[in-house]
């Protein structure tokens, strides 16, 4: 379905507006048909809308949502539709009419329908029961804590870092002082594409030959990223790297507002240094392929690559207060 892509990050809003929009279209069509004197009975309209919602949930949403969740949505939307069809006594009578007609077998056609229903309903429910009794082996759902609580201190290359107080030594202004406001002004823009602010200004373009200080360190961090990290985290830092498809848990998407954007820089430093194997139990250290980067990179390199990740995604690290 390439005609209308679900955009990551906007997906819930997109879904709700698509559903609401289509319901609105249904209402308009229904209203127009009624005006034209060709109104659809509420019985069929209700069933139609309910089936539409089910099909939408089943085929439109990707990755697919499990049956149990669809069943919940199905029940809720069923209740809503039921309230609509039984809004007044007259409407309720009108809704019941086709069902009662079949039960009573008021004509040959209805009788045939009744016989068919008498056979189909037990068979369908029996088949459904058979399917649910049939032993099935779905993938087990294992919930993992993506950002577990960090330790108070971490020891990397023989040096102990107190995560509450340590600062990124490369996040500095022209005077060489730690300065988050200064560096935050130089990250990429938070608009579509997340591009650097000015390609011709050495303050903003890490590749400018005259870039120095923070901006130069960003380039050095990027060089490390594109030799080590992009295989999983992707060229756009969105967790869609070359081998992301092979791993579970999937690599973190740094462009998502739920990862580095809501973490302190020192937390990221700890996670990068210690990798998957350094996670506490709730983070599934046995399954993560994230390397403990202290085995491959120096402390300085880790700080630079962390800073690059913030620069490239256009996010500020969260502060402690």
């Amino acid at each position: 379905m390439t005609w209308l892509k679900l955009v990551e990050g906007y997906m819930p809003m997109q879904m709700i507006s698509e559903l609401a929009g289509s319901i609105l279209v249904f209402a308009l069509v229904n209203w127009a048909l009624n005006r034209a004197g060709m109104g659809i009975p509420k019985f069929w309209a209700g069933i139609g809308v309910w089936i539409y919602i089910q099909l939408y949930l089943k085929y439109r949403i990707y990755p697919p949502i499990p049956f149990s969740v669809r069943a919940i949505y199905g029940t809720v939307s069923g209740c809503g539709i039921f309230m609509w069809v039984s809004g007044s006594e007259g409407e309720w009578q009108e809704f019941k009419r086709p069902i009662l007609n079949v039960m009573d077998g008021i004509s040959g056609f209805h009788k045939g329908l009744r016989t068919a229903a008498l056979i189909v309903i037990p068979l369908a429910l029996g088949g459904f029961a058979y399917n649910s009794f049939l032993p099935s082996f779905e993938e087990p759902i294992e919930l993992r804590t993506v950002h577990p609580a960090p330790p108070a201190t971490t020891k990397v290359h023989g040096k102990t870092f107190v995560l509450q107080v340590v600062e990124n030594p490369y996040r500095v202004n022209n005077d060489g002082k730690y300065d988050q406001a200064y560096t935050d002004a130089r990250i990429v823009e938070q608009s579509m594409g997340r591009l650097m602010k000015d390609v011709n200004d050495p303050n903003y373009n890490p590749w400018d030959p005259n870039a120095e200080g923070y901006t130069k360190y960003v380039r050095e961090g990027g060089e490390i990223f594109f030799q080590n990290c992009h295989f999983c985290h992707g060229d756009n830092l969105n967790g869609r790297g070359l081998w992301a498809y092979a791993f579970n848990p999937i690599p973190a998407n740094f462009t998502d507002a739920g990862t580095i954007a809501q973490l302190q820089e020192t937390f990221v430093f700890w996670r990068v240094s210690k990798g998957g194997i350094g996670l506490p139990g709730e983070g599934f250290p046995w399954a993560s392929v994230m390397p403990p980067w202290e085995q491959h990179l120096t402390v300085d390199e880790i700080w630079k690559v962390v800073m690059f990740e913030y620069w490239h995604t256009g996010y500020y690290p969260r502060t402690w207060d």
Binding site: F137, W243, Y245, G276
Partner: protein
């Protein structure tokens, strides 16, 4: 309708008008060009230069997103290049692989290059930029690349450039009928496709000696993995993509254009055959590339694999099912009973957690099936590997050793971005072969947790050969014939041999036409404390590993999967049939009761009336 005089007139007028428009634009329409035009191509004029503002806007995109791999000058030498295979494109010469234009010509910017940026190049590190960059940003960056970084040629060079464009829209695809597929299978022999791509199309025909224009080792495409075709445009089973590549060739590579020596009709047949080889739900074998009528029919009717739109690879399922069979387990891959169970696609990535890391991973997936009887379980592994690798010299180390640094097996530091700087780069199979580089054994392995029954869910031993607290049971086969069962207690801890070696068996291990088939049998049970005790109906965590000896894979340099679950499906219990039957009967009774009540009520109301 063109039979009517009126219709013919309109058509003529259209042609005349078209010609006069072309002539009016002053395009070179020499009779030479007309003759050169291969079948299915149309000539097109040179594009207008792109505005300076667009180039400037594109520069901003380039230096944010692209420079990291493609480099400041666009020479494909950014910092990312040193560990990539295939290498990032060097734009300078204007050589681009995926095009609608004839061999050797520049690509169409607004079609070919835009599609490349939009859909990425699967099987390489080039991602899809759709949804990340707006369409305008993608066009801007192409304006910058084509005008500033392509230095040796120009899209506006009237003297040297012309564009013969494959008229893909005007050529309706030939349906992939059994006849077309069969003819295609004969044509790939006639046209010598199999010399590089191999008899069964796994890219194993000439795996050693091919180089691209820059001297880098390059390998023929594996037709069984269409989702890795660079030109698959996120639509891998679309035969048009293959037709296009076959018609225009891949500039800068040994893949030529076949436009001059094949008719359009023949090209569709070949494209249909190549497309049919791409893996399907059903495993279809055409041994030695021989397609019988029956095979052709199966090819033409089988379902493509579901492709996951988030990864553009086949969809994963982490449960590896295994079915019970009576009697002895199969002795080869042709046993019908393998079809009792679906084969599972195991996605594999390079091991890059611990040194030596495998940045150039050549085994990116594997197919697994499993069957079991009262006493044993049997796994059939099949994976594509262009080279059969068996270490010639005796292995210096013991099979239980995992730290091979002492034997010179070390991670290679990035050397440089040109072939001259780094001829022995890990990607360079050609160099390895020529210069007697170490070739190790191909291999496959899988691990279970030992005493998994006692693990508090979801705890597992680490995917990488277990850990201190929880040991892993590792079964490993290497192409020199060694099969062993080991206990692993960590990524850097030597294996411990387990007293189980006599019990496991290689039922079959064969490399043919670019594919390994390895069947391994092991008992379900052994010493509870030393080996995994496999039980029915449980989720048993499992990890897969694979080595390509010609890629220098050995020890920790390997391909690895995520956690999968082996499930030995138990026979269906009686209750599965009993309860639904009872429910059906119950519903019939309820129906009778409801209808009876309704009839009574009606009778009463009518009576009252």
């Amino acid at each position: 309708m063109s039979k009517s005089r009126y219709g013919i007139n309109v058509a003529r007028w259209g042609v005349c008008l078209g010609f006069s428009v072309l002539l009016g634009l002053g395009l070179p329409l020499s009779s030479m060009a007309q003759e050169d035009l291969p079948e299915g191509f149309k000539q097109q004029g040179l594009p207008a230069p792109l505005p300076a503002e667009q180039i400037e806007a594109g520069k901003r995109v380039y230096f944010t997103k692209c420079v990291w791999c493609h480099g400041v000058e666009g020479a494909g030498d950014g910092p990312g290049a040193v560990r990539l295979w295939p290498r990032p494109r060097n734009f300078n010469a204007g050589t681009f692989k995926i095009r609608h234009t004839a061999s050797g010509q520049l690509p169409l910017i607004d079609l070919d290059l835009l599609q490349t940026v939009t859909h990425g190049l699967p099987g390489s590190a080039m991602p899809s930029w759709e949804g990340i960059l707006t369409e305008q940003q993608r066009k801007d960056v192409l304006a910058f690349v084509t005008s500033q970084l392509v230095q040796d040629r120009s899209w506006q060079d009237e003297e040297f450039e012309e564009f013969f464009v494959l008229d893909l829209e005007g050529l309706p695809p030939k349906p992939g009928t059994p006849e077309s597929i069969k003819r295609g299978s004969e044509l790939v022999v006639e046209k010598k496709c199999i010399e590089c791509h191999g008899l069964e199309g796994r890219g194993d025909g000439n795996a050693f000696n091919l180089k691209d224009d820059w001297g880098f080792s390059i390998q023929p495409a594996d037709w069984h993995k269409c989702w890795n075709f660079r030109g698959s445009r996120q639509d891998p089973y679309n035969v048009k993509n293959i037709f296009r590549t076959f018609s225009t060739g891949l500039n800068g590579t040994p893949m030529p254009s076949f436009a001059d020596n094949t008719s359009v009709d023949e090209r569709w047949d070949i494209a249909n055959y190549v497309n049919s080889l791409c893996e399907r739900e059903q495993e279809i074998k055409a041994p030695q590339g021989t397609v019988t009528d029956e095979t052709a029919l199966t090819f033409s009717t089988s379902q493509p694999l579901g492709i996951d739109p988030l990864t553009d690879k086949p969809k994963s399922n982490f449960v590896v099912p295994s079915k019970f069979v009576e009697g002895d387990l199969p002795t080869d891959e042709n046993d019908e009973r393998w079809n009792l169970i679906p084969r599972r696609w195991i996605a594999m990535g390079g091991q890059i957690t611990h040194k030596p890391r495998n940045f150039v991973n050549r085994i990116d997936d594997m197919w697994v099936r499993a069957l079991y009887n009262e006493t044993h379980i049997e796994f059939m592994f099949r994976w594509d590997d262009r080279t059969k690798s068996i270490q010639e010299d005796e292995v210096d180390w013991d099979p239980t050793e995992v730290n091979l640094e002492d034997y010179g097996v070390e991670e290679q530091a990035p050397q440089g971005t040109t072939f001259e700087e780094d001829p022995f780069h890990q990607e360079s199979i050609a160099a390895k072969q020529k210069d007697g580089y170490a070739v190790y054994n191909d291999g496959v392995a899988f691990q279970f947790p030992i005493k998994w029954q006692e693990l508090p869910a979801p705890r597992k031993p680490r995917y990488f050969w277990g850990d201190e607290r929880f040991a892993a049971d590792i079964t490993k086969w290497t192409a020199d014939g060694t099969l062993g069962v080991y206990e692993g207690t960590g990524w850097d801890e030597d294996f411990t041999e387990v007293d189980f070696q006599e019990e496991v068996e290689v039922v079959k291990a064969e490399w043919a036409n670019g594919q390994w088939t390895v069947i391994v049998k092991r008992p379900l049970k052994g010493d509870y404390d030393e080996v995994a005790y496999l039980e029915q109906g449980k989720y048993i965590p499992m990890v897969f590993f694979a080595w390509d000896g010609h890629n220098g894979d050995v020890g920790r340099k390997m391909a690895v999967s995520a956690f999968y679950y082996l499930v030995m499906e138990p026979p269906i219990p009686m209750t599965t049939y009993l309860y639904p039957g009872l429910i059906t009967v119950g519903i019939v009774i309820i129906e009778g009761w409801v209808l009876g009540r309704r009839a009574n009520k009606r009778k009463k109301t009518q009576g009252q009336a």
